[in-house]
Symmetry: C2
Subunit: 308 residues, 2 copies
């Protein structure tokens, strides 16, 4: 097993949960409102260069294509940037909600940097884009957990909103016709790539049958430059394909209207994901990274936003 | 990729579909009725010894534990044993339905043997045990596709009957508390084992997050005896654990009663699995193995039994 498997996040990462963080648009925090007018920090300062370039590219693509469907950020400064008491862990979470007429629920970008006891560090970069219940189209999930210069865990998926066994047409439309298995097969064919299994069976259940959940490892003797090439070329190519499918087939299509009963089921399903994510991931892991005080504040805000 | 990947079955195998074969208990075929009184053929004559020993062990365990919950076989002789016109492919499918008071729908055992153009042969052994809609407990799936003396594909799972995202308690009860991920992790740790991805996204969607879907390959230079040891020890150990969980937690528990609306949804879900299995698997593959005449007869009987 990779050394990464022993990192402090038993699931995808705390950010898989933070993905669901969303502040109500009725929030009345003056300092936040001022902060929201500026373009949020997108510099991912601690990330290795190839990771940062990829994240910026994906984020720019999403923001440009969604355009006015995304509202300005309303996230408070102490979530846009936070750290632990001794400065060994830094993080940023930024969220832009979708406009009322948009099928977009929110787009979240984040990074975390955490020094490890052995003198190394972990970098986690995430991009999540979730849709609301006006559509049943999949959510976008992208996460890159860089555990050492030569090893990463990568999670990329369009998260299904339906039971795929009961809805084979849904499977065909979003996964088969779009050839989402192609990027997965490509990465799977590379010798440094092996499957990654989340220790949470629930998280595994959330993912689609074309999900990319892999470890990439060049070994202790490996060159960081080889990993940079892997991120830029292979992972970047797969990520851009998946983001493109999401923009074109999920977020970019005219909403045809989901029946009221179906909306309630979609909302119940999404809520279960959020509730379990907070319960088994964030509430357990954030304290380890940022200490109880920062973690409690963040978790409390998330729970309030989730109403869970 | 393994040479096995090019075998003629793009999905799990034809038998993954045949698993759903069931003749109505109201069948009025005199010859079948006579055949059903004898113990069905359980000798798996073409299988490698370790495979045969394992299949017989699993089958005996299931039949002994289910006891009178299983009715005598009602399968006609030309399904109990069949072959293609030139005798290069042989097969057997046997099914025992569950009694009226039992949660068991049917137990199916089967084997297929098929000579390949290169002078080799493929052996497929399967054991499937499905429950009816009086319970929502998982179905049992076990399949061993022996493509050469030193390579196999193995599929083992308890197939969920519910959307696991909407039913985390179900996931916890049948998969987490039973530690079904343990056997998967063990096989995953062996160097000859790698993941196997069905080319059908639907089949992948049917499987659970602890499903074992792997290729085992000792290479062209490998010894058949090493594979025999693998089957007897590692695969056998995993299979027995999974069958034991199924018998104890799924088939062997008192049925508490599933509400009428839920029964209909369970039946609709099971029917979708059966319908898609016939459509994308059996109807496409059986002709290649047994020629159009045998295949048509078998498929027609299955479709009649499935009412699809």
């Amino acid at each position: 097993m990779l050394a990464l498997s022993s990192h402090p996040f038993p699931l995808l990462s705390p950010l898989f949960s933070s993905a669901f963080l969303r502040f109500p648009s009725s929030s009345t925090r003056p300092s936040s409102a001022i902060a929201s007018m500026a373009r949020p920090p997108t510099d991912f300062p601690y990330l290795p260069p190839a990771d940062r370039d990829l994240m910026l590219s994906l984020l720019t693509t999403v923001e440009d294509r969604l355009g006015s469907a995304l509202l300005p950020s309303n996230v408070s400064p102490d979530v846009l940037r936070f750290q632990n008491s001794n400065g060994s862990a830094h993080g940023s979470v930024n969220i832009r909600s979708g406009s009322q007429s948009s099928p977009v629920d929110f787009v979240l970008q984040s990074w975390l940097n955490c020094k490890t006891p052995g003198g190394g560090e972990i970098n986690i970069a995430s991009l999540f884009a979730f849709l609301n219940s006006s559509t049943d189209a999949p959510h976008l999930l992208f996460e890159l957990i860089h555990g050492s210069p030569t090893s990463i865990v990568l999670i990329m998926d369009l998260i299904p909103r339906r039971d795929l066994v009961l809805h084979p047409d849904y499977l065909d439309k979003f996964y088969q016709q779009t050839d989402l298995d192609g990027p997965r097969r490509h990465l799977d064919s590379l010798p440094q790539v092996s499957p990654y299994y989340s220790s949470s069976l629930f998280i595994r259940s959330v993912l689609s049958p074309t999900s990319i959940a892999v470890s990439v490892d060049f070994g202790k003797e490996g060159e960081a430059s080889a990993m940079e090439e892997m991120v830029a070329e292979h992972i970047g190519g797969a990520a851009k394909k998946i983001v493109e499918v999401w923009l074109e087939k999920c977020a970019g299509v005219r909403v045809l209207g989901v029946a009221e009963g179906e909306r309630l089921e979609l909302e119940r399903r999404d809520e279960l994901i959020k509730r379990k994510a907070v319960e088994i991931d964030l509430a357990a892991n954030l304290p380890r990274m940022f200490g109880p005080e920062v973690a409690e504040r963040v978790v409390a805000e998330i729970q309030m936003a989730f109403r869970v």
